[in-house]
C-alpha cells in the first residue's frame, strides 16, 4: 500500500529530523539562543561526508567518527568568535541578537558553500546505496534504516552523558537555572561553550547522515533549520527523546500529506503544524517550558 510505504519512509527521515532538532534544542535550552544557522551547520557536515567519500573513498558512516569531533571544534570556534557576545545580554535581547547573528552566519555560510561547491545537489552513493530490505510489500532502504538507528544511538549516548557525566549534569543544571548552577561552582561560560559545541556536532552528524540517505546542496540549510525548529516546537524543550519522537511525528505527518495532497505540498504541512502549535500550545506536545 502506498500509504504504508510512505509512512515507513516518513518514519526513517523523522529520525534525522529528531537528531537535527536535538542540537537546536540543546543550544536553545541551555544558552537561550536561537541559532538559525543550525541548518547551515548541518549542511557543512553533509558536505564533509560527501568530500571525504568523493576524494578519499571513506565510508560515510565511518567518516562520522571524524565529522563529529571536527564539527565540535567548529562549534567551539563559532561560540568563541560570535555567540559568546550574544549570551552577555539578558534573555529577551539574547534571543533577538542570536537570531540576527545566526541570520548573518547563514548568509555567510550559504554563500561560501555556493562559491566553493556550486549549487548542485550532491549525494553520497556507496556500493550498498541501493540495498533494500523487503518486508512484505514494503521496501526499506538499508542506508536510511542505518541512519535512523545511528541517529537514535547518538541521541542515547548524549542522553547518557547529560544524565550521568559531571559536565552533562552541569549542562542540565545551567539550562534549568544558571545562577543556581554558578553557585555550585559550575563555570557557566564553559558550560555554554560545551553545549554549543555539542549542538554543532549534532548538526554535523545529522548532516552526514542526510548526505548519504538523501542529498545535499547549499540550499538545504534554511530547509533543515525550519525542520529543526518545527520539531523543537512540536516536542517542547527539555527532552532529547521528545525531539526524536517529535521528528518522527513530523516525518509521518509529511508522509501522510504527500499521499493525500501530493509531493509539492510536503513542506507546507510541517510549517502549518508549526504555526498551529506555536499559537495553541507553545510549550510543545511533550515539553516542560515554553
Amino acid at each position: 500500500m502506498i500509504l504504508t510505504q510512505q509512512l515507513v519512509l516518513g518514519l526513517l527521515v523523522g529520525g534525522l529530523y529528531g537528531l537535527a532538532a536535538a542540537g537546536l534544542s540543546l543550544t536553545f535550552g541551555v544558552l537561550r539562543i536561537l541559532n538559525v544557522a543550525h541548518g547551515e551547520l548541518l549542511m557543512l557536515g553533509g558536505y564533509a561526508a560527501f568530500w571525504l567519500f568523493a576524494l578519499w573513498g571513506i565510508d560515510p558512516f565511518l567518516s562520522l567518527l571524524g565529522i563529529g569531533p571536527a564539527m565540535f571544534i567548529l562549534g567551539l570556534v563559532l561560540y568563541w568568535a560570535l555567540f559568546q557576545f550574544v549570551v552577555r545580554a539578558h534573555e529577551e535581547l539574547r534571543i533577538k541578537n542570536s537570531l540576527l547573528i545566526g541570520f548573518g552566519l547563514t548568509l555567510v555560510l550559504h554563500t561560501l558553500a555556493i562559491h566553493f561547491w556550486t549549487a548542485d545537489e550532491r549525494a553520497v552513493t556507496t556500493a550498498y546505496a541501493g540495498a533494500v530490505i523487503r518486508v512484505g510489500t514494503l521496501a526499506i532502504p538499508l542506508v536510511r534504516l542505518t541512519s535512523l538507528v545511528l541517529a537514535f544511538a547518538v541521541l542515547t549516548a548524549l542522553q547518557l552523558f547529560l544524565a550521568r557525566a559531571r559536565w552533562g549534569r552541569a549542562i542540565r543544571a545551567t539550562a534549568e537555572d544558571w545562577e543556581a548552577a554558578a553557585l555550585m561552582g559550575i563555570p557557566v561560560g564553559k558550560t555554554y561553550l560545551l553545549a554549543f559545541a555539542l549542538g554543532t556536532a549534532l548538526a554535523g552528524i545529522a548532516g552526514g547522515l542526510v548526505s548519504v540517505s538523501y542529498s545535499i546542496s547549499p540550499s538545504i540549510g534554511l530547509e533543515w533549520t525550519l525542520k529543526a525548529l518545527i520539531v523543537v516546537v512540536l516536542a517542547g524543550l527539555g527532552s532529547l527523546f521528545g525531539c526524536f519522537a517529535g521528528g518522527i511525528l513530523l516525518g509521518l505527518a509529511e508522509a501522510t500529506s504527500v499521499v493525500f495532497l501530493g509531493g509539492p505540498y510536503r513542506e507546507v504541512i510541517g510549517l502549518l503544524l508549526f504555526l498551529i502549535i506555536l499559537v495553541v500550545r507553545p510549550q510543545g506536545l511533550f515539553g516542560g517550558r515554553a
Partner: protein, 304 residues
C-alpha cells in the same frame, strides 16, 4: 533640519537624472535603489522602531506583487492595482498579526518566516508559470515612468515613516520596543501599537511589491515570496542604521551600488560581504553606517 535638506537634495538629484541620460542601465540602477529603500524602510518601521523582528517581510512583498500584477495585466488601472496590492498585503498582515504577536520575540520572527515559506511554496505550486506582460504592452514599455514611480514610492515610504515616528502613535510604538511592560502600565496598548506598526509596514512593502510587479517585464510569481527579499530588507536596515530614518537610505545606496560593483567580478559574493558586515554591525556597531558616520565626524571634530 540638515537631514531634511539632504533628503530633499537627494530626491531632487534622482529626479533630474532621466533628463541627463537615457541609459537603461542607470535607470534600472535607480529603480533598484528605490525598491531597496522602500523595502528596508518598511521593514525598519516594525523591526527598527518597533523592535519586532519580522522574518516574513517577503510574504507581504509577494502578496502586493501578486495582487498588483494580476489586476494590472488584466487591464485594471495601475493606481487601483497598486492600491489593491497594498490592501491585500495589509489585510493579511493584520489577520496574522493578532495571533502572531502573542508569541514572544523569537517565536514571532520564526513564525512569520514559516508563514512566508508557506505562501512561497503554495504560490509556486499554484502558479508555476512565468508571468509576462502581454505583447501589446511590451511595445510601449518604458523605463522612465517606472523610474519615477519608484522614486515616488521611496519618497512616500520615507516621508510616511518620518511622520508616523514623530506622532503620538510612533512614540507609543517606540515605547513598546523599549519596555513593553512599562508601556502597558502607562496606558500604551502594546498589541494595538504593534498592530499599527505592522499594518503600515505591510502596506508599504505591499506597495513596493506592486511597483516591483509593474517594473518587471517577466518574472516567476513565487520569486516575489523568496526569503531573499526579507534578507535584503534586514541587511540594509541594520547596515545602514536600524531604527533611524536615514539608515535604510544610506544602507540601500551602499547595498545596491556595492552589489552592482561586485556583480561585475564576483557574482554572489556581495552576500558574503554583507553577511560579515551585518554580523559586525550587530555585535560591535549597532547603529550601522549612521553611527559610524557620526563617530567619524566626532573624531575629526576633536582633531580639528
Amino acid at each position: 533640519m540638515k537631514l531634511l535638506l539632504g533628503g530633499v537634495l537627494l530626491a531632487a538629484g534622482f529626479a533630474v537624472v532621466p533628463f541627463f541620460t537615457a541609459r537603461n542601465d542607470l535607470l534600472n540602477l535607480g529603480v533598484q535603489i528605490f525598491l531597496a529603500v522602500s523595502l528596508a524602510q518598511s521593514w525598519n518601521l516594525l523591526g527598527g522602531y518597533g523592535g519586532q523582528i519580522n522574518l516574513g517581510h517577503a510574504a507581504f512583498f509577494g502578496l502586493g506583487a501578486l495582487a498588483t500584477r494580476i489586476l494590472w495585466v488584466d487591464g485594471v488601472p495601475l493606481f487601483f492595482a497598486l492600491g489593491a496590492g497594498a490592501v491585500v498585503a495589509t489585510a493579511f498582515g493584520v489577520l496574522i498579526g493578532g495571533p502572531a504577536f502573542r508569541l514572544r520575540g523569537a517565536y514571532f520572527a520564526i513564525g512569520t518566516l514559516a508563514l512566508a515559506e508557506i505562501l512561497r511554496i503554495t504560490v509556486g505550486n499554484l502558479m508555476p508559470e512565468i508571468s509576462t506582460i502581454p505583447t501589446a504592452d511590451l511595445a510601449s514599455y518604458s523605463l522612465v515612468p517606472r523610474y519615477y514611480l519608484g522614486l515616488a514610492l521611496a519618497i512616500v515610504c520615507v516621508v510616511l515613516v518620518a511622520i508616523v515616528i514623530r506622532s503620538r502613535v510612533g512614540l507609543g510604538i517606540q515605547a513598546v520596543r523599549e519596555d513593553e511592560a512599562a508601556a502597558e502600565a502607562s496606558g500604551v496598548g502594546a498589541l494595538r501599537h504593534k498592530l499599527l506598526a505592522l499594518a503600515l509596514s505591510t502596506a508599504l512593502v505591499g506597495l513596493t511589491g506592486g511597483v516591483y510587479a509593474y517594473y518587471h517585464v517577466s518574472y516567476y510569481p513565487q520569486h516575489a515570496f523568496s526569503p531573499g527579499w526579507t534578507f535584503d530588507a534586514v541587511l540594509i536596515s541594520f547596515i545602514g542604521g536600524v531604527g533611524t530614518l536615514h539608515g535604510p537610505i544610506l544602507g540601500a545606496l551602499f547595498y545596491v551600488i556595492l552589489k552592482e560593483f561586485l556583480a561585475l567580478r564576483l557574482v554572489e559574493l556581495h552576500l558574503l560581504i554583507f553577511g560579515v558586515l551585518f554580523i559586525l554591525v550587530v555585535l560591535f556597531l549597532p547603529g550601522g553606517l549612521v553611527e559610524a558616520w557620526s563617530r567619524a565626524r566626532r573624531l575629526i571634530g576633536r582633531r580639528g
